[in-house]
Subunit: 378 residues, 4 copies
Amino acid sequence: MKKIRWGMIGGGKGAFIGGAHRIAAKIANSYELLGGVFDVDYERAKEFAEEEEIDPRRVYPDIDKFIEGELGMPTNERIQAVTIVTPNFLHYEHAKKLLLNGFHVICEKPVTLTSAEAIELQKIVIEQNRVFVLTHTYTGYPMIREMRRRIEAGTIGELQRVEAQYLQGWINPIIHGEEGKLAVWRLDPKVAGISSCMGDIGVHAFNLIEYTTGLTVKQVLAVLNRLKPDNPLDLDGNVLLKFDKSLTGVIRSSQIATGEENNLQISVYGSKGGFHWEQENPNELKMFHEGAPFEVIKPGYGYLTPFAQESFVLPPGHPEGIYEAFGNLYKGAAKAIRYEQTVPGQFPGIEDGVRGMKFIEAAVASDQAGNVWMKITG
Amino acid sequence: MKKIRWGMIGGGKGAFIGGAHRIAAKIANSYELLGGVFDVDYERAKEFAEEEEIDPRRVYPDIDKFIEGELGMPTNERIQAVTIVTPNFLHYEHAKKLLLNGFHVICEKPVTLTSAEAIELQKIVIEQNRVFVLTHTYTGYPMIREMRRRIEAGTIGELQRVEAQYLQGWINPIIHGEEGKLAVWRLDPKVAGISSCMGDIGVHAFNLIEYTTGLTVKQVLAVLNRLKPDNPLDLDGNVLLKFDKSLTGVIRSSQIATGEENNLQISVYGSKGGFHWEQENPNELKMFHEGAPFEVIKPGYGYLTPFAQESFVLPPGHPEGIYEAFGNLYKGAAKAIRYEQTVPGQFPGIEDGVRGMKFIEAAVASDQAGNVWMKITG
Amino acid sequence: MKKIRWGMIGGGKGAFIGGAHRIAAKIANSYELLGGVFDVDYERAKEFAEEEEIDPRRVYPDIDKFIEGELGMPTNERIQAVTIVTPNFLHYEHAKKLLLNGFHVICEKPVTLTSAEAIELQKIVIEQNRVFVLTHTYTGYPMIREMRRRIEAGTIGELQRVEAQYLQGWINPIIHGEEGKLAVWRLDPKVAGISSCMGDIGVHAFNLIEYTTGLTVKQVLAVLNRLKPDNPLDLDGNVLLKFDKSLTGVIRSSQIATGEENNLQISVYGSKGGFHWEQENPNELKMFHEGAPFEVIKPGYGYLTPFAQESFVLPPGHPEGIYEAFGNLYKGAAKAIRYEQTVPGQFPGIEDGVRGMKFIEAAVASDQAGNVWMKITG
Amino acid sequence: MKKIRWGMIGGGKGAFIGGAHRIAAKIANSYELLGGVFDVDYERAKEFAEEEEIDPRRVYPDIDKFIEGELGMPTNERIQAVTIVTPNFLHYEHAKKLLLNGFHVICEKPVTLTSAEAIELQKIVIEQNRVFVLTHTYTGYPMIREMRRRIEAGTIGELQRVEAQYLQGWINPIIHGEEGKLAVWRLDPKVAGISSCMGDIGVHAFNLIEYTTGLTVKQVLAVLNRLKPDNPLDLDGNVLLKFDKSLTGVIRSSQIATGEENNLQISVYGSKGGFHWEQENPNELKMFHEGAPFEVIKPGYGYLTPFAQESFVLPPGHPEGIYEAFGNLYKGAAKAIRYEQTVPGQFPGIEDGVRGMKFIEAAVASDQAGNVWMKITG
C-alpha cells in the first residue's frame, strides 16, 4: 500500500517529541516523511533533512512557504498529512492554515491556548472534512482500549466512582532552583497558556476519563497550587467532577510530586465491578469483580475485544510501550485518511481538543473564583 | 511484670471486633481479661466467660453493675482498663461513665456520634487524668511510624502535596440488594451517626494524614454520594483539604468501589522527596528521592528509627499484619497506664477523636451546603 | 472451653522464637501456659515466670524435673502439651522423653539431627498415640491451604512443573566478617546438624512442595556451596527433584543471597493452569489459566475452600501475617488434642519431620558424592 | 547521515518476526530496506515489496540470486547488511553465503543447528571482518545494560549466586491437543534442532547470565522433560551451572508452565548486594544492599551509567518495551558497520552464538547421559 505523504512543522534536530512522532509513524508503517518546516533555524532544518535523506527542495523556511510549495506540487505527490510539534502558542495558527489548505493535521497537545480557538478549529475541520488527530497518546494503549470497550458493554454495570491521577515531580527542582529557573517556558503564560499542571497533564487525566467511560464531565471544582506567589501558573491541584449520573469523580495532578515520574492512573468502579490501570505498567489491567478474585488482563490474547487485539502486535509477555501506543494513533489516522472514514476511539480528535481546553479553563476559573463549581458546556 | 487488669464492654461471643481486641491485647502481652459486660444477652455473656475461663462473678449484666462491682473490689484487684466495643451510639455514654469512675478506656472508633460529645469526653479525660485510646489501628503499623518520624525529621523537606484514599466495596451488594438491606445498621443514622463512608473510613484517612505529617487540616470541602435517594448516608466521597501551608490535600473514600477490599493508601510529597504506603501491603514503604532511585523501606532493620524498630518484633521478611499493628496500640497504652506517661504517637487519643468528629461534621456540612469550605477549629 | 494446659521447654526471656510460639498459642485461644523449663539459667527462668504470672512451683530446672513434677499432679491439672524450643541438637532427646511420658509435643524445626532419630520418634508417636506438631509454619498460611485444596481437586490438571525457592541473605555479613564470626552456632555441625542452608530453610521449601502438591519426592540431586573452604556447612544450593510423574522439580535456597530477607516462593504448573505464591506477600495467590487472565485469590472470601476460610479470621483486605499462620498450626493441634482426631493438613507432623531429615541427608549426600541422584525412601 | 543499505532474507508478509526487525531498524533510524528474499513464494515476496515501496528489481527469488544481483550493483548502492529471519535450519547456510560475499549479517536465534556450524561461521566472521549480530534481544534493555555495568564495576562485590528463569506456557495446549499438533515445527528436530525449550528460550537465560555477569559457564548438569514419550524434544528443564568461582548457578526454563507468558527473570547476588530483573516489567531493576533498603533503578535518569542512558530515549516514566530493546541492538550494529568498530556489549555476536549452541548441546548431552556434568569449552 502506498505510504501517506507526510510532513512536519517543528520537530527537527534535537527535538525529543519530534523524534517520538517519527518513531510512531514508522511503527504505524504507513507514512513517508517527505518535507516540512523542521526548525526555526533554516540551516538546522536542512541539516536535519540531509540526515533523514529528505529532498532538500521540500525543506521550507516557514509554514507559508510550506503551503505554497506543496500546493504547487501535483496532487498525487503533494504532502497529505502534517504533524504539528511547534510550541503550544503556535498550534492554533499552524493548524488553521494547514486545514484551510486541505492538509490533514496531527497536532501535539494542547490543541490551542483557548477554547475559543479550539472551537474555531473544530468548525474548520468539519467544513474542510479533514482528519485531525490530537495526540492524547495514552488512548493508544491496548489495555485502555479494552477498558473502554468493556465499560461500553456494561461489564461493570452502572458507574459509581471515577478517578484519575497524573503525578509527576519534574518541576520540583526547577521551582526550588535559582530565580532564573522560573523562566522555563512551561511557566510562561504567553507560551504555555493559562495553566501548567492542568494544561499539560491534568487534561490527559480528564481525556482518559471521558475516553474510557464514555461519560461527559458537566462541572468542575478545582483547587490549584502555584507553590510560590511569584509563579503565575499552577503546578499541582485537585479537581472534583460532576456528571449527569450520581457518581463522584476527581482528578489529582501534580508536577511537584517529588520523585514521581509519569504516574498516570485511572480507576473506575460500577455496580458490578471495577477497573484499575497504571501507565507505568501499561500492559496490566486489573478488573475487579463482586465477590470473586480480581483478574489481571494482559494484551496479546484471543479473549480480548477486537479493538484491544488489533492494538497490540506481539505475543503475550512481550512488553510494548508508549511508542507503540503512539503508533496506534498514527495507525488509526492512516485508516481515516485512506478510507475517509473514522472509527470512534481510534484517535482523539478536535472534539477532544475542545473538551480539553474547556476543562482547563473551567478548572482555572473555578480556582480563581474561590473553588466553586464551573460548568463545562458542549 | 504484673499484667494490667482488663475488662471489656461488648465484644463477646461471635463479635469479630471483640476477638481482634483480645488478640491485640495478647500480642501486647500486658493485659489479663478479668471481667466485663460481654453481651447484652447476659446468658451469652456468661457462656463466653466460661469459654474464656473468666470468673463468673465478674461477668456483669450492664455497665452500671460493672462499675459498682469493680469499685467494690480492692484497688489492687480492681480492673484498671476497659475496652469499649459496643455499637457506636453507646460509646459516649460508656466512656463517660468509665472515665468518671477512674477507669482507663480503650475505645473503638468512632469515639462518639458528635464532636460535642467528644469534646466533653476530652475534658473528662484531662480532669480524671486517665489514659484514653482510640483505636485508629493503622497508626500502629511500623512503616507508618517510620514515615511519621522521617517527615518530622525533615527528610522530605517542606510538604507540597498530601493525599490519602480509603476504598472499600462491601456496601455495594447491600445497596443494590433487596429493599430490606438498606436497614443495615451502618446506614441507620440513629446508630451510625451522620455519616457512613466518611464516618467509618474517611476518618481513618484523615487521622493518618494528621498522624504522619504532623499537619492540622484547617478546612474541608466535600462532595459526598449516597447513590440512592432513599439512602440517608454517604457511601462515597472526595474531600479537599486546606492547611496553613501552601499545599493541596485530598481524601478519597468509598464503600461502593466494587471489588476493593480495604485499600487505604497515603502519599506525601515534599520539596526533597516523598512517601507512599499501602495498607494491604503494609510492610513496604516507598521513599522517593529527587533524582535518585526510589527506596523500599521494610521493617526489622537496624537502619530504621527506634520507634519503627520497637513496633516490629520479627526479623525482616516475616510479615506482621494488622493484629500486630493493633497490638502496638495496646503496648503503647500499657506503657502509659503503667508509667503514667504518654509518649506522643504511641496511640491515638481523645484529641484524635475530637479531630475526627469535627472532620466528619465539617465534611457532611460542606456537602449539604453545596460543596463549600467548612472550617475545622481546634 | 477449657484451655489446653501447656508447657514449654526453652523459649524464655529474650528468646525470639519462644515469644512467637506464645503469641501463636494466644491467637489460637486454646492454650494456657502453666509451666516449663524456660531457661538453662534457672534464675532467669523464674524471672520469666514471674513476668508471665506463672506459678513458680511449675518452673523446673530441667526436663527430668519437669516430667517428674507434672506426673505428680492430678491428671486434670497436669500439663497436656509441651512446646520444644531448645537448640536443635536437644530436640530429639526432649521430644522422646516427653512423648514417652504421655505429653503431646509441639516441636521446632528441625525435628532431630538425623533421620534415624526422626524415625525413632515417629515410632514413639504412633505407639503413644500422641499429637506431634512440627512447626513448618508456612503451611498455616490460608493461601497455601487454598492452593493445596485446589491442586487436590484437580483444578490445574496433571502437574508438569514444580519449584520452590527460599532465599535469605543474613549469613552474608557473618561469613565475610571477622574470623570469629564463623563460630555462629548455625555453622557448627555439632549443634546445627549436617546442613545449614538446606537444613534450616531448604527443608521448608521441600515441605511446602510436598504439602501443596501431595506429591512425594523420590530422588534429589544437589549442588551445595559452602563459599569458604573452612566453613563446614552449606550456605547455598540448588536441588533437583525427581517424582514418580514426568515432571521437573527444583529447590533453590540460599543464606547468602545478599539483601534477600525471607523470600520463600512456590510455583506449580499443571496441564490446565498454575499457581504462584510468595511468602513476603502471603495474602495473594496467583492462579494461572490456559488462555484466560490470571486471577489473584485473596483470603476472607466465601469463594474459598472451607479450609482456607477457616484459616483466616478477618474480612478481606486486613493483612494477617506469619503469627496468624503459626496460630493456625496451634489451632489444628488444639483440635487434635481435644478431639483425639487429626485432619490431614491441619499441621505438619512427625512424618514431615522424617521426610525433611531424609531430604537434608539425601541432599548433602548427593553433593558429597559429586552431584548424583540420591533416593529418598519412605 | 546516510542510512545503511539493508536487506532481508525471509520476514515478508505475515511474518511476525520480520515485522519486529523492521520496527527495530526504524527505531534505530539508521537503515533503509532496499531489497531481499522476502518469501519462499516469489509472488508474495513481490506483493510485500510493493506494499513497502521497495524497488521490485531488488526482490530476489532466492539467496543466490540476491547475492548475484547485489554484487552486480555499484558498491555505494549495494546492500551492506542483511537480516536473516528464515527457519532455524537455514540460518547457517544463509549466513555463510552472505558473510563470504561481504555482507554484514543480523541473524535470528538460534544462530545454527550445531555448535560446529556456529564455530565455522565464527571463523568466517573473523576472516571476512564483518559485523555479525545475533538477536538476543533482551541484552538491549537499558536495565540489563545497567546491571552489566554495575556488576563489572564491582558494586555488588564478588558473585555468590546466579540464576535465571525463562518460563512460558504456550506449548501446553499444543502438547495436549490432538495428535497432529505435535507436528508443530518447533517440535520437529529437523527444523528446530536438538532442543525445543533449551534451544529456544533456555539459551536466552544462559546468554543473559553470561552477558550481565561477565562470567563463563564451564559445566552444566541438566534434567530435561519431554512430557510425552512420543515427543522428541524437551519442553521444560532445569540446568545447574558451574563456574570457575565458588558460586552456584541454575537456569530454569519451560514451555509448559501453563499461564506463563514470557517470564524471563535474572537474579545475581554478590558479597555486597544483589540484582533482580524481570522481563515483563523491564523498566525496573531491583538493587539489593546489605543492611539498607533495596532500591528500584529506572531508566531515563542522569544517575545511570552512560551505557544505560544511551539505551533509553524517553524521560523517566514513559515505558519503552521490547521493540526499543531490539532497536538498541540495531543501533549498536549501525555504529559497528559505520565506524568499523565494535564496543563490547552493544550487541550479541557470533561468539554468543557459539556459546549458546555449546550450552544447548551440553544440556541435551547431560540429560541423555543421566544428568551428569558436561563441559562447555571455549
